[in-house]
Point group: C2
Chain length 73, copies 2
């Protein structure tokens, strides 16, 4: 079974690609480093709830929707 | 306005007290340190999503419910 971080990474990548933006653009929107976005997408880091809220805002989805998707996987 | 960490801390304390358990008991259930639970409740630390999921499970609520409450405050 995939880890929580790996599943979050998949959800993040899907949402980012659905929004048609690059890792660089998302990083800029969230005031985060591009390499951190890449680490998150590869399931190598776990976000804090603060990072979750910043990313969700940049991807125009409620943070709870991302968590709900994580719960159901 | 209260920070995200402070609001999470309030929600965490309310849920823990509603469950009628001590910080020690919650820490043991989550395999976390009691002082960390105290820091979270005082809004001095932010949990990762992994910690959010462990705490939510111990408090018998879906993680998304905690995040939804955070969104609405």
């Amino acid at each position: 079974m995939k880890s929580l971080e790996e599943r979050f990474g998949e959800i993040l990548r899907n949402l980012r690609e659905k929004n048609g933006i690059t890792q660089e653009a998302l990083a800029a929107d969230c005031d985060l480093d591009r390499t951190y976005i890449s680490l998150l997408e590869r399931g190598l880091r776990q976000p804090t709830i603060g990072t979750l809220f910043k990313i969700a805002e940049a991807l125009k989805v409620p943070p709870s929707k991302i968590i709900k998707e994580l719960e159901s996987n």
